[in-house]
């Protein structure tokens, strides 16, 4: 249920973020505002945490698809293999920071 709600939230956010703006025309990608970006990353991280904690995820910011890998280099390579060099992507570490625990 929580996963379903998360998926809905993510979908709604992506739809809103990818709305064409200004004179860009249909389908033109607009960069995310910093606040939107943080929310998107936190939503993705929450959804990935049960299975991929400690790994890195890189999300395609056009369509919300993502790849996961154990290192930054590996996840970046997988992202480019999957979506091409031109696809905008955001990388983040899944799960709590190793420094978060006392």
């Amino acid at each position: 249920m929580a996963q379903e709600r998360l998926a809905q939230e993510l979908k709604a956010l992506l739809l809103r973020l990818n709305q064409p703006q200004g004179n860009g025309g249909e389908g033109t990608f607009q960069p995310f505002a910093e606040a939107d970006l943080s929310k998107l990353l936190s939503l993705v991280a929450k959804g990935l945490e049960p299975r991929h904690a400690g790994n890195y995820a890189m999300i395609n910011s056009i369509n919300g698809d993502y790849v996961v890998g154990p290192t930054i280099s590996e996840v970046h390579t997988r992202f480019i293999d999957a979506f091409g060099l031109e696809a905008p992507g955001l990388c983040l570490r899944v799960g709590a920071s190793p420094f978060a625990a006392a």
């Binding site: 990353l41 280099s73 390579t77 992507g89 955001l90 990388c91 420094f99």
Partner: protein, 141 residues
Amino acid sequence: MPPRETIRGGVDHLNRPFVRLGVTGFAEPVTAFIDTGFNGSLIVDEYQAQQMGFQVTKIHSITALLASQRSETFLLCRGRINWLGDEPFITALVISETETQRLERRRRKRNEEVVLGVELLINCKLEVDFVRRSVSITRLS
């Protein structure tokens, strides 16, 4: 058995372990500070990335949570480096800053400086001797 490749360095006046790396695009060796709390490969600035022939993809970024719990965003770039007799293809993190900020940051520095993380230390032995102020990285396999 083939000879083991080793990179040597030292511990600076601020007690930071470093090695000197011969890097494509720089006449002098680059000082690489070793950060064992960073599990990526390298942190460079945009100028350094360009000199190294790395491809800086400004549409690829990473949001990293630092030890201070502050969140910081870096760009990602890809390329090959000379590393212990090999040329691995790596993704490096690029500091996001203006030219003015870079000049200010580099004002009192003589050498180019980068941060070296543990991704490049896999299959290596890292020895830091704070008494003798020496550092060595040896490839084991």
